[in-house]
Amino acid sequence: MTRLALFALLALSLFSGTGAQAQSLTEVRTQLQAALQRSLSRSMMDGALPHLDLTTGQLTKFYPTENHEIILKMEAVYVMCATLLGPDGKEVPVDYYITQSGGRYGVIRTEIDNRTPLKALMDAGRATRLE
């Protein structure tokens, strides 16, 4: 009997659509992607993203190569990632922290080549995939 109920539950979840919530998430995702792209475009100088290392004082130009489609959510803050290519050909990650204000999304923090805080948030279970 229990097996039958579990099976029915499984079948129900298998064939049921994701509905209005999925559509809403899609909307959010596209807006976030657009916001990220806008931020990236505006931050670029000569097609590169300049980055100042505050510990060494070194200014490095990174070139965007690939945006990641995965979006993380941390209460009201969304996190999106991309891969940048350094002058030495080394790939580094960049994490964008985005939030919403007045119906618009905007980048509030950018972490280039510093994945540590995001990993800590993910390990703590605070940053989870938007789904």
Binding site: F7, L10, L14, Q23, E27, T30, Q33, A34, E69
Partner: protein, 711 residues
């Protein structure tokens, strides 16, 4: 070895497999579907995210291009410019995007739209992505897209999932079946085959053991017949006291050995499941009292008080296996007498729970330590080695008794405390014979219309007093019981006094009240003591003596019963043919019948017996069953044929055999035999058997015409 047929050995693999599948397939389905669903959801999520990224990026890049286009002019942008629509057209390359609008945020007027001509017609349900374009003036780019590709992905994944599941189940079921046949089925079948073979071997070995025991029992009983019979005969001759002591020891040892053989044989029969119980009417009171009488001499030698009583409300006649019940009681009560050094042993039967009787055997012996009570009912176990050394025995008696009680549908339990005695409770189903009625059946002691007669019962043993008083009270007497004369109320004048011989008579002998003395030994009656009853009491005798005394018919009665018959001439006038292949046993028969008044002829084989009978018929044939050549069954068959051919009255043929199983009785009956006597054949048993036959009229001397010519 006999093989079991193939069908019985075939492993029910399909049944086992189906049961296993009934559990395994849903479990597999649950786990596989859960895993596939999880994968599908993740894949769908990636598709949604990829689409969002694609549309978001494209929209943002178009917005940036429009902003740069706006920056190139000095004033307001001409949004109707084909450059603008060309830029917007680039988004339509994405299959998800239905249309793109450029809107004035102030009044929501559409400044430009692609695809041109169609616009966003029919895209009402599409998802909108608004993007603020920082142009001059500020405009809003709205990209409308639908999720058809997501729906397609969903549909594809669902089909893929179902296909995968169905294929997985099919493949798993087939793989399971094959692996089950190979991995489980074959070893299981081999294991079952081996178990069946081992079982067959064990059954054959057990049968062989039972046969061996039965044969051994038979072989032992045959010489035992000679030993015990000759010892019996020897005891009847003139012996010195020393010789008499030796002979008595021989007889007792023979009896003990016979008990051991019987126990072993019973145990073997029960283990082999060959023991069947009879269902015949019996009187429980008689059985209990018989057992008490049987054990009385041993109890008297040890100075033990032995008594019994059966509650008067129990049915007088019940159904069951009287012989086996007697065996159980002799075992348990015999042990009680054997292991009790002083005090008493009592057998008391009463009603138990609904439809049950309980027979309690209680003694005041040393008791059994609690940690050894479990061993009591284990075969070949006694409580300790000391007991074995002191009292002998195989330790089988109680094991056999418990198994017999269980076969009867009852229970045998033990209650004991060290130093305080032991009590065995035999609980049996109460099966009254329908015609027997309920309760003790005897004429009431009270005369119609008169007061209940007062009976003083003087016995120092309170437990026994209760047992004696119960049937008298049941029959209407008013019994006043006490341990001494001083306990009796002076006001209640007795009509009868029952006095145990350990109670001082005081001035009772001076009164005119009749007295019945209850004594362990022979006591001559006197004027005061008009009757003496030997303990342990038989209630029937007690009631009759009490009735006679109350009715004034009491006459002086000796305490010893008169000899029933003369020791000689107990088979007077009978023509007997004794058949036995053992010379000692033939000699024994000759001695048994020496002064019986019978004419005895002896045959050493079945063939000789047939020849002797053909020459002259006999009234009684004592036929040994197991003989070389023609056995007793065949010889009996031929004797019966002769009788039919010559129109002779049939002789009473008794099987004399050590084979005492029920099947042997049936075989003897089928062979035409009339009776059954077990070995060793005791003279007393023979005398009693012939007496019973003569009393019932089943055994009469033949008419002169049919007598042997030698007479």
């Amino acid at each position: 070895m006999a093989m079991t047929d193939g069908a019985a050995l075939r492993t029910p693999t399909l049944g086992l497999y189906l049961k296993l599948t009934a559990v395994m397939v849903p479990t597999f389905l649950l786990f596989a579907a859960s895993g596939l669903l999880w994968l599908s959801e993740k894949n769908l999520l990636r598709s949604e995210e990829a689409m969002a990224m694609r549309i978001g990026n494209a929209t943002s890049r178009l917005g940036g291009a429009l902003e740069r286009f706006s920056d190139q002019g000095d004033g307001a942008v001409d949004w109707a410019s084909p450059y603008v629509t060309d830029l917007m057209q680039t988004l339509l390359g994405d299959p998800a995007i239905r249309c793109v609008e450029l809107v004035d945020p102030a009044n929501r007027a559409v400044l430009a739209v692609v695809p041109e001509g169609l616009g966003c017609q029919g895209a009402d349900t599409a998802v909108s992505l608004p993007y603020e374009v920082f142009s001059w003036p500020i405009t809003e780019l709205v990209t409308r897209f639908d999720e058809r590709e997501i729906a397609t992905v969903k549909r594809y994944q669902r089909d893929f999932l179902l296909l995968l599941l169905a294929g997985g189940i099919l493949i798993a079921a087939l793989a399971n079946w094959l692996s089950f046949r190979v991995i489980v089925g074959r070893p299981l079948r081999r294991l079952i085959t081996r178990l069946e073979e081992a079982r067959e071997v064990a059954v054959i070995a057990n049968d062989a053991k039972s046969d061996f025991l039965a044969k051994m029992s038979h072989e032992i009983r045959t010489p035992m017949n000679g030993i015990i019979g000759m010892a019996d005969m020897l005891s009847e001759t003139d012996l010195t006291p020393e010789q008499d002591s030796y002979v008595s020891t021989m007889v007792r040892s023979g009896d003990a050995l016979l008990t051991i053989i019987n126990d072993i044989l019973d145990f073997s029969k029960i283990e082999a499941g060959k023991l069947t119980l009879a269902s015949e009417p019996y009187r429980l009171r008689e059985i209990v009292e018989d057992v008490t009488q049987l054990l009385a001499p041993l109890a008297a030698r040890k100075g033990l008080m032995l008594y019994s009583d059966v509650a008067p409300d129990l049915p007088e006649i019940m159904l069951g296996d009287a012989g086996r019940l007697r065996q159980i009681l002799v075992n348990i009560a015999g042990n009680a007498v054997k292991f009790t050094l002083e005090g008493h042993v009592a057998l008391r039967a009463s009603a138990g729970g609904p439809g049950q009787i309980v027979i309690r055997v209680h003694d005041s012996g040393v008791g059994i330590p609690s940690d050894q009570q479990d061993k009591v009912f284990t075969a070949f176990e006694q409580v300790d080695n000391t007991a074995t050394r002191s009292f002998g025995g195989t330790g089988l008696g109680l094991a056999v008794s418990r198994q017999l009680v269980t076969l009867m549908g009852g229970t045998l339990t033990l209650h004991s405390r060290e130093g305080e005695g032991t009590r065995f409770d035999i609980t049996l189903p109460l099966i009254p014979q329908e015609s027997g009625g309920r309760g003790l059946r005897a004429t009431p002691l009270a005369q119609p219309g008169l007061d209940a007669p007062v009976i003083w019962l003087l016995d120092p043993c309170a437990d026994r007093r209760a047992g004696i008083a119960a049937p008298l009270t049941h029959l209407g007497a008013r019994v006043i019981a006490g341990g001494s004369v001083a306990d009796m109320p002076a006001a209640a004048k007795p009509a009868l006094i029952l006095r145990d011989d350990r109670v001082a008579d005081g001035d009772l002998t001076e009164g005119a009240t009749p007295q019945i003395l209850l004594s362990d030994r022979a006591v001559a009656p006197s004027d005061a003591i008009r009757s003496v009853l030997r303990k342990p009491l038989r209630h029937a005798l007690l009631i009759e003596a009490a009735r006679a005394a109350l009715n004034g018919h009491l006459t002086a009665r000796p305490s010893e019963p008169a000899p029933a018959r003369r020791a000689e001439d107990w088979a007077e006038g009978l023509h007997i043919l004794g058949v036995n292949d053992n010379a000692t046993n033939r000699l024994l028969l000759e001695r048994y019948f020496a002064r019986s008044g019978a004419q005895l002829r002896l045959a050493a084989s079945g063939a000789e017996a047939v020849a002797l009978y053909g020459a002259a018929p006999a009234d009684l044939v004592l036929m040994d069953v197991s003989m070389p050549g023609m056995d007793g069954y065949q010889a009996t068959g031929l004797i019966r044929t002769q009788e039919a051919a010559q129109d002779l009255p049939p002789a009473h043929v008794v099987a004399v055999t050590a084979n005492v199983l029920e099947q042997h009785r049936q075989e003897a009956h089928l062979a035409g035999m009339d009776g059954f006597l077990g070995k060793p054949l005791r003279k007393a048993d023979l005398i009693a058997y012939i007496a019973r036959l003569r009393e019932s009229g089943d055994l009469m001397p033949r008419p002169a015409a049919h007598r042997p010519a030698a007479e």
